[in-house]
Protein backbone atom coordinates (compact mmCIF):
# COMPACT_ATOMS: atom_id res chain seq x y z
CA UNK A 1 0.00 0.00 0.00
CA UNK A 2 1.25 3.43 -0.87
CA UNK A 3 0.97 6.39 1.50
CA UNK A 4 -0.69 8.52 -1.16
CA UNK A 5 -4.26 9.42 -0.37
CA UNK A 6 -6.73 8.05 -2.86
CA UNK A 7 -8.55 10.37 -5.20
CA UNK A 8 -12.07 9.52 -4.07
CA UNK A 9 -12.99 9.77 -0.40
CA UNK A 10 -14.33 6.58 1.06
CA UNK A 11 -16.53 7.01 4.12
CA UNK A 12 -15.92 3.45 5.27
CA UNK A 13 -12.14 3.84 5.20
CA UNK A 14 -12.32 7.17 6.99
CA UNK A 15 -14.51 5.64 9.68
CA UNK A 16 -12.04 2.81 10.16
CA UNK A 17 -9.31 5.33 10.96
CA UNK A 18 -11.34 6.57 13.92
CA UNK A 19 -12.57 3.49 15.74
CA UNK A 20 -15.55 4.02 17.99
CA UNK A 21 -14.68 4.14 21.67
CA UNK A 22 -15.29 0.98 23.62
CA UNK A 23 -16.95 2.82 26.48
CA UNK A 24 -20.71 3.37 26.65
CA UNK A 25 -21.70 5.85 24.02
CA UNK A 26 -25.22 6.41 25.41
CA UNK A 27 -25.74 7.80 28.88
CA UNK A 28 -28.97 8.21 30.86
CA UNK A 29 -29.05 10.81 33.58
CA UNK A 30 -31.38 9.13 36.08
CA UNK A 31 -32.21 12.21 38.18
CA UNK A 32 -33.94 13.85 35.23
CA UNK A 33 -35.50 10.74 33.61
CA UNK A 34 -39.26 10.51 34.18
CA UNK A 35 -39.71 7.11 32.57
CA UNK A 36 -41.97 8.07 29.65
CA UNK A 37 -40.41 5.31 27.51
CA UNK A 38 -40.09 7.36 24.31
CA UNK A 39 -36.35 6.69 23.94
CA UNK A 40 -36.87 2.95 24.51
CA UNK A 41 -39.73 2.69 22.02
CA UNK A 42 -38.14 4.60 19.15
CA UNK A 43 -34.55 3.32 19.35
CA UNK A 44 -34.01 1.52 16.03
CA UNK A 45 -31.47 -0.91 17.55
CA UNK A 46 -33.04 -1.67 20.96
CA UNK A 47 -30.09 -0.23 22.85
CA UNK A 48 -32.24 0.98 25.74
CA UNK A 49 -34.56 -0.86 28.11
CA UNK A 50 -36.95 0.17 30.82
CA UNK A 51 -35.68 -0.80 34.27
CA UNK A 52 -37.64 -1.88 37.32
CA UNK A 53 -37.24 1.61 38.74
CA UNK A 54 -39.33 3.01 35.82
CA UNK A 55 -36.33 4.70 34.27
CA UNK A 56 -34.52 3.99 31.01
CA UNK A 57 -31.31 1.98 31.19
CA UNK A 58 -28.59 1.31 28.62
CA UNK A 59 -28.85 -2.44 28.04
CA UNK A 60 -26.87 -2.98 24.82
CA UNK A 61 -24.41 -0.13 24.32
CA UNK A 62 -22.49 -2.07 21.68
CA UNK A 63 -25.50 -1.95 19.32
CA UNK A 64 -25.66 1.86 19.26
CA UNK A 65 -25.34 3.37 15.79
CA UNK A 66 -25.37 6.97 17.07
CA UNK A 67 -28.46 8.17 15.28
CA UNK A 68 -29.12 10.49 18.26
CA UNK A 69 -32.87 9.91 17.99
CA UNK A 70 -33.10 9.02 21.69
CA UNK A 71 -31.29 12.19 22.75
CA UNK A 72 -33.36 14.43 20.50
CA UNK A 73 -36.70 12.89 21.40
CA UNK A 74 -36.06 12.89 25.15
CA UNK A 75 -38.39 15.55 26.63
CA UNK A 76 -36.39 15.69 29.85
CA UNK A 77 -32.84 16.19 28.47
CA UNK A 78 -31.85 13.00 30.27
CA UNK A 79 -30.24 11.10 27.37
CA UNK A 80 -26.85 12.02 25.96
CA UNK A 81 -24.86 10.35 23.21
CA UNK A 82 -21.11 10.85 23.19
CA UNK A 83 -19.48 12.28 20.11
CA UNK A 84 -22.55 14.40 19.39
CA UNK A 85 -21.11 16.92 16.97
CA UNK A 86 -17.72 18.51 16.77
CA UNK A 87 -19.17 21.91 17.58
CA UNK A 88 -20.88 20.58 20.65
CA UNK A 89 -17.67 18.96 21.80
CA UNK A 90 -15.86 22.28 21.48
CA UNK A 91 -18.55 23.98 23.49
CA UNK A 92 -18.37 21.31 26.13
CA UNK A 93 -14.62 21.81 26.41
CA UNK A 94 -14.94 25.56 26.78
CA UNK A 95 -15.77 24.99 30.42
CA UNK A 96 -19.12 26.65 31.00
CA UNK A 97 -19.50 24.47 34.08
CA UNK A 98 -19.53 26.48 37.26
CA UNK A 99 -20.37 29.83 35.67
CA UNK A 100 -24.12 29.52 35.95
Amino acid sequence: MSDKPEAGRNAKQEKAQFPEPETTSVHIFPEWCKGCGICVAFCPKQVLEMGKDQKAHVAHPEKCIRCYLCARRCPDFAVSVYGHTRKAEEKRNEGTDGEK
Binding site: C36, A41, C74, P75, F77, S80, K87, D97
Partner: protein, 280 residues
Amino acid sequence: MAAHLPYEYIYLRYKKKFPHVWCPGCGIGIVMGSIIRAVDTMNWDMNDILLVSGIGCTSRMPVYLDFNTLHTTHGRALAFGTGAKLANPALKVIAVMGDGDALAIGGNHLIHSARRNIEITTIIVNNNNYGMTGGQFSPTTPPGTFTATTPYGMMEPGFDICSLAQGAGAVYVARGTVYHVMELDKLIAGALEKPGFSVVEVLAPCPTNFGRANRLGDAVKMMESLRDGTITQVQAEKLPPEERVGKTVRGVFLDREDSEGYTARYARLCEQAAGGVSGK
Protein backbone atom coordinates in the same frame (compact mmCIF):
# COMPACT_ATOMS: atom_id res chain seq x y z
CA MET B 1 -22.84 16.03 36.56
CA ALA B 2 -22.63 18.17 33.51
CA ALA B 3 -20.41 15.75 31.66
CA HIS B 4 -23.27 13.27 31.43
CA LEU B 5 -25.85 15.74 30.13
CA PRO B 6 -26.57 16.34 26.45
CA TYR B 7 -24.88 19.41 24.99
CA GLU B 8 -28.15 21.35 25.06
CA TYR B 9 -27.61 21.89 28.78
CA ILE B 10 -25.41 24.90 27.95
CA TYR B 11 -28.59 26.81 27.17
CA LEU B 12 -30.48 25.57 30.23
CA ARG B 13 -30.73 26.85 33.79
CA TYR B 14 -29.87 23.33 34.72
CA LYS B 15 -28.52 23.88 38.19
CA LYS B 16 -31.60 25.57 39.63
CA LYS B 17 -34.67 24.53 37.74
CA PHE B 18 -34.33 20.91 36.67
CA PRO B 19 -35.97 18.41 36.37
CA HIS B 20 -38.75 20.46 34.77
CA VAL B 21 -42.45 20.40 35.74
CA TRP B 22 -43.84 18.93 32.52
CA CYS B 23 -45.51 15.53 32.76
CA PRO B 24 -43.72 12.34 31.64
CA GLY B 25 -43.99 12.11 27.86
CA CYS B 26 -45.05 15.73 27.32
CA GLY B 27 -43.88 17.04 23.96
CA ILE B 28 -42.95 20.52 25.14
CA GLY B 29 -39.52 19.37 26.33
CA ILE B 30 -38.78 18.07 22.85
CA VAL B 31 -39.80 21.43 21.36
CA MET B 32 -37.50 23.17 23.83
CA GLY B 33 -34.60 20.97 22.71
CA SER B 34 -35.44 21.78 19.10
CA ILE B 35 -35.41 25.52 19.80
CA ILE B 36 -32.01 25.15 21.48
CA ARG B 37 -30.53 23.28 18.50
CA ALA B 38 -32.02 25.79 16.05
CA VAL B 39 -30.57 28.73 18.00
CA ASP B 40 -27.28 26.83 18.20
CA THR B 41 -27.08 26.62 14.41
CA MET B 42 -27.68 30.37 14.13
CA ASN B 43 -24.55 31.19 16.21
CA TRP B 44 -26.32 33.98 18.09
CA ASP B 45 -25.18 35.36 21.40
CA MET B 46 -27.53 34.26 24.17
CA ASN B 47 -27.71 37.86 25.43
CA ASP B 48 -29.20 39.02 22.12
CA ILE B 49 -32.17 36.69 22.34
CA LEU B 50 -35.43 37.46 24.10
CA LEU B 51 -37.81 34.62 24.84
CA VAL B 52 -41.36 35.79 25.61
CA SER B 53 -44.24 33.68 26.78
CA GLY B 54 -47.71 34.00 28.27
CA ILE B 55 -49.37 31.58 30.65
CA GLY B 56 -49.72 27.84 30.25
CA CYS B 57 -47.71 24.65 30.06
CA THR B 58 -45.67 25.84 27.07
CA SER B 59 -45.18 29.21 28.68
CA ARG B 60 -43.11 27.63 31.44
CA MET B 61 -40.31 27.44 28.87
CA PRO B 62 -38.62 30.77 29.74
CA VAL B 63 -38.09 29.47 33.26
CA TYR B 64 -35.74 26.81 31.94
CA LEU B 65 -33.92 28.54 29.09
CA ASP B 66 -31.02 30.85 29.87
CA PHE B 67 -31.80 33.65 27.38
CA ASN B 68 -33.27 37.03 28.28
CA THR B 69 -36.73 35.87 29.27
CA LEU B 70 -40.09 37.52 29.85
CA HIS B 71 -42.97 35.57 31.38
CA THR B 72 -46.03 37.72 30.87
CA THR B 73 -49.81 37.71 31.28
CA HIS B 74 -52.08 35.20 29.57
CA GLY B 75 -52.07 35.53 25.78
CA ARG B 76 -50.01 38.72 25.73
CA ALA B 77 -46.64 37.27 24.74
CA LEU B 78 -46.77 38.91 21.31
CA ALA B 79 -47.89 42.26 22.75
CA PHE B 80 -44.95 42.37 25.17
CA GLY B 81 -42.67 41.02 22.45
CA THR B 82 -43.75 43.80 20.07
CA GLY B 83 -42.91 46.41 22.70
CA ALA B 84 -39.50 44.91 23.39
CA LYS B 85 -38.69 44.63 19.69
CA LEU B 86 -39.62 48.27 19.02
CA ALA B 87 -37.62 49.46 22.03
CA ASN B 88 -34.55 47.49 21.00
CA PRO B 89 -34.70 46.34 17.36
CA ALA B 90 -31.39 44.47 17.76
CA LEU B 91 -33.09 41.90 19.98
CA LYS B 92 -34.04 38.59 18.41
CA VAL B 93 -37.48 37.95 19.84
CA ILE B 94 -38.88 34.42 20.09
CA ALA B 95 -42.42 33.97 21.41
CA VAL B 96 -43.46 30.54 22.67
CA MET B 97 -47.15 29.96 23.21
CA GLY B 98 -49.59 27.15 23.64
CA ASP B 99 -52.63 26.74 21.43
CA GLY B 100 -55.06 28.31 23.90
CA ASP B 101 -52.62 31.08 24.74
CA ALA B 102 -52.03 31.97 21.09
CA LEU B 103 -55.47 31.49 19.57
CA ALA B 104 -58.08 32.04 22.27
CA ILE B 105 -56.81 34.57 24.79
CA GLY B 106 -54.15 36.03 22.51
CA GLY B 107 -55.92 35.49 19.20
CA ASN B 108 -56.12 39.16 18.36
CA HIS B 109 -52.45 39.70 19.12
CA LEU B 110 -51.55 36.83 16.81
CA ILE B 111 -53.45 38.10 13.78
CA HIS B 112 -52.44 41.72 14.26
CA SER B 113 -48.77 40.86 14.78
CA ALA B 114 -48.97 38.91 11.53
CA ARG B 115 -50.66 41.86 9.81
CA ARG B 116 -47.92 44.26 11.01
CA ASN B 117 -45.21 41.75 10.09
CA ILE B 118 -43.27 42.48 13.26
CA GLU B 119 -40.01 40.51 13.38
CA ILE B 120 -40.96 37.88 15.96
CA THR B 121 -40.49 34.13 15.63
CA THR B 122 -43.65 32.58 17.02
CA ILE B 123 -43.66 28.94 18.07
CA ILE B 124 -47.12 27.59 18.88
CA VAL B 125 -47.16 24.22 20.63
CA ASN B 126 -50.49 22.61 19.81
CA ASN B 127 -51.53 19.88 22.24
CA ASN B 128 -55.26 20.23 21.56
CA ASN B 129 -56.32 21.35 25.04
CA TYR B 130 -55.52 23.55 28.04
CA GLY B 131 -53.12 21.21 29.80
CA MET B 132 -52.14 23.25 32.84
CA THR B 133 -55.66 23.85 34.15
CA GLY B 134 -56.86 20.25 33.77
CA GLY B 135 -57.65 19.58 30.11
CA GLN B 136 -60.42 21.96 29.06
CA PHE B 137 -61.20 22.34 25.35
CA SER B 138 -59.23 24.90 23.37
CA PRO B 139 -59.74 26.43 19.89
CA THR B 140 -57.77 23.58 18.32
CA THR B 141 -59.56 20.64 19.95
CA PRO B 142 -60.72 18.39 17.08
CA PRO B 143 -64.50 17.94 16.76
CA GLY B 144 -65.89 14.86 18.49
CA THR B 145 -63.08 14.49 21.01
CA PHE B 146 -63.59 14.49 24.77
CA THR B 147 -62.08 16.92 27.25
CA ALA B 148 -62.90 17.98 30.81
CA THR B 149 -65.43 20.54 29.53
CA THR B 150 -66.80 18.55 26.56
CA PRO B 151 -68.04 15.29 28.18
CA TYR B 152 -70.29 14.52 25.18
CA GLY B 153 -67.67 15.36 22.57
CA MET B 154 -66.45 18.65 21.14
CA MET B 155 -69.13 20.24 18.95
CA GLU B 156 -67.08 23.06 17.38
CA PRO B 157 -64.59 22.74 14.55
CA GLY B 158 -60.99 23.60 15.39
CA PHE B 159 -58.74 26.34 14.09
CA ASP B 160 -56.17 25.58 11.40
CA ILE B 161 -53.27 27.62 12.81
CA CYS B 162 -51.23 27.60 9.59
CA SER B 163 -54.11 28.79 7.39
CA LEU B 164 -54.93 31.49 9.92
CA ALA B 165 -51.35 32.77 9.99
CA GLN B 166 -51.12 32.72 6.19
CA GLY B 167 -54.35 34.65 5.86
CA ALA B 168 -53.30 37.19 8.47
CA GLY B 169 -50.07 38.04 6.63
CA ALA B 170 -47.19 36.09 8.18
CA VAL B 171 -44.13 35.63 5.95
CA TYR B 172 -43.12 32.13 7.08
CA VAL B 173 -45.60 29.46 8.12
CA ALA B 174 -44.68 25.86 8.90
CA ARG B 175 -46.02 22.89 10.77
CA GLY B 176 -44.00 20.13 12.40
CA THR B 177 -44.46 17.44 15.01
CA VAL B 178 -42.35 16.38 17.96
CA TYR B 179 -42.03 12.90 16.46
CA HIS B 180 -40.27 14.30 13.36
CA VAL B 181 -37.73 16.12 15.50
CA MET B 182 -34.93 16.49 12.94
CA GLU B 183 -37.42 18.13 10.56
CA LEU B 184 -38.61 20.36 13.40
CA ASP B 185 -35.06 21.61 14.01
CA LYS B 186 -34.89 22.75 10.39
CA LEU B 187 -38.36 24.35 10.44
CA ILE B 188 -37.54 26.39 13.55
CA ALA B 189 -34.14 27.38 12.14
CA GLY B 190 -35.90 28.53 8.95
CA ALA B 191 -38.32 30.59 11.04
CA LEU B 192 -35.49 32.19 13.03
CA GLU B 193 -33.76 33.25 9.81
CA LYS B 194 -36.79 35.13 8.45
CA PRO B 195 -36.83 38.92 8.93
CA GLY B 196 -40.56 39.05 9.59
CA PHE B 197 -43.41 37.44 11.46
CA SER B 198 -42.88 33.70 11.27
CA VAL B 199 -45.12 31.02 12.74
CA VAL B 200 -44.22 27.39 13.45
CA GLU B 201 -47.02 25.17 14.68
CA VAL B 202 -45.77 22.10 16.52
CA LEU B 203 -48.09 19.18 17.17
CA ALA B 204 -47.30 17.72 20.58
CA PRO B 205 -48.90 14.99 22.69
CA CYS B 206 -50.60 15.67 26.02
CA PRO B 207 -50.81 12.15 27.46
CA THR B 208 -51.92 13.28 30.91
CA ASN B 209 -55.07 15.20 29.96
CA PHE B 210 -56.04 14.91 26.29
CA GLY B 211 -54.66 11.41 25.88
CA ARG B 212 -56.34 10.07 28.98
CA ALA B 213 -59.72 11.66 28.23
CA ASN B 214 -59.77 10.14 24.74
CA ARG B 215 -58.09 6.82 25.63
CA LEU B 216 -55.23 7.47 23.22
CA GLY B 217 -52.73 5.49 25.28
CA ASP B 218 -49.44 6.57 26.79
CA ALA B 219 -46.86 8.97 25.42
CA VAL B 220 -45.37 6.35 23.07
CA LYS B 221 -48.78 5.58 21.53
CA MET B 222 -49.47 9.28 21.04
CA MET B 223 -46.07 9.74 19.37
CA GLU B 224 -46.89 6.83 17.06
CA SER B 225 -50.20 8.44 16.16
CA LEU B 226 -48.30 11.63 15.29
CA ARG B 227 -46.08 9.51 13.02
CA ASP B 228 -49.01 7.75 11.33
CA GLY B 229 -51.42 10.68 11.27
CA THR B 230 -49.23 13.23 9.50
CA ILE B 231 -47.91 13.33 5.95
CA THR B 232 -45.45 15.56 4.13
CA GLN B 233 -46.57 17.90 1.38
CA VAL B 234 -45.01 15.63 -1.26
CA GLN B 235 -46.97 12.65 0.05
CA ALA B 236 -50.13 14.75 0.19
CA GLU B 237 -49.84 15.60 -3.50
CA LYS B 238 -49.49 11.95 -4.44
CA LEU B 239 -52.33 10.64 -2.27
CA PRO B 240 -55.86 10.59 -3.65
CA PRO B 241 -58.20 12.93 -1.76
CA GLU B 242 -60.19 10.15 -0.08
CA GLU B 243 -57.04 8.76 1.56
CA ARG B 244 -55.96 12.20 2.72
CA VAL B 245 -58.95 12.57 5.06
CA GLY B 246 -57.87 12.66 8.70
CA LYS B 247 -54.19 13.21 7.89
CA THR B 248 -52.44 16.41 8.87
CA VAL B 249 -50.00 17.88 6.36
CA ARG B 250 -46.67 19.09 7.74
CA GLY B 251 -43.88 21.13 6.20
CA VAL B 252 -43.32 24.74 5.11
CA PHE B 253 -46.56 26.22 3.77
CA LEU B 254 -45.43 29.77 3.10
CA ASP B 255 -41.99 31.36 2.71
CA ARG B 256 -42.20 34.76 1.06
CA GLU B 257 -39.78 37.67 0.78
CA ASP B 258 -41.98 40.46 -0.53
CA SER B 259 -43.02 42.08 2.76
CA GLU B 260 -40.86 44.49 4.76
CA GLY B 261 -40.56 44.08 8.53
CA TYR B 262 -42.26 46.47 10.95
CA THR B 263 -39.14 47.77 12.71
CA ALA B 264 -37.52 48.63 9.36
CA ARG B 265 -40.60 50.62 8.36
CA TYR B 266 -40.76 52.23 11.80
CA ALA B 267 -37.11 53.32 11.64
CA ARG B 268 -37.73 54.93 8.27
CA LEU B 269 -40.77 56.74 9.60
CA CYS B 270 -38.76 58.05 12.59
CA GLU B 271 -36.08 59.34 10.23
CA GLN B 272 -38.69 61.05 8.11
CA ALA B 273 -40.35 62.67 11.10
CA ALA B 274 -37.02 63.85 12.57
CA GLY B 275 -36.11 65.43 9.24
CA GLY B 276 -39.31 67.45 9.25
CA VAL B 277 -40.63 65.88 6.09
CA SER B 278 -44.36 65.47 6.23
CA GLY B 279 -45.81 62.24 4.96
CA LYS B 280 -48.41 64.12 2.97
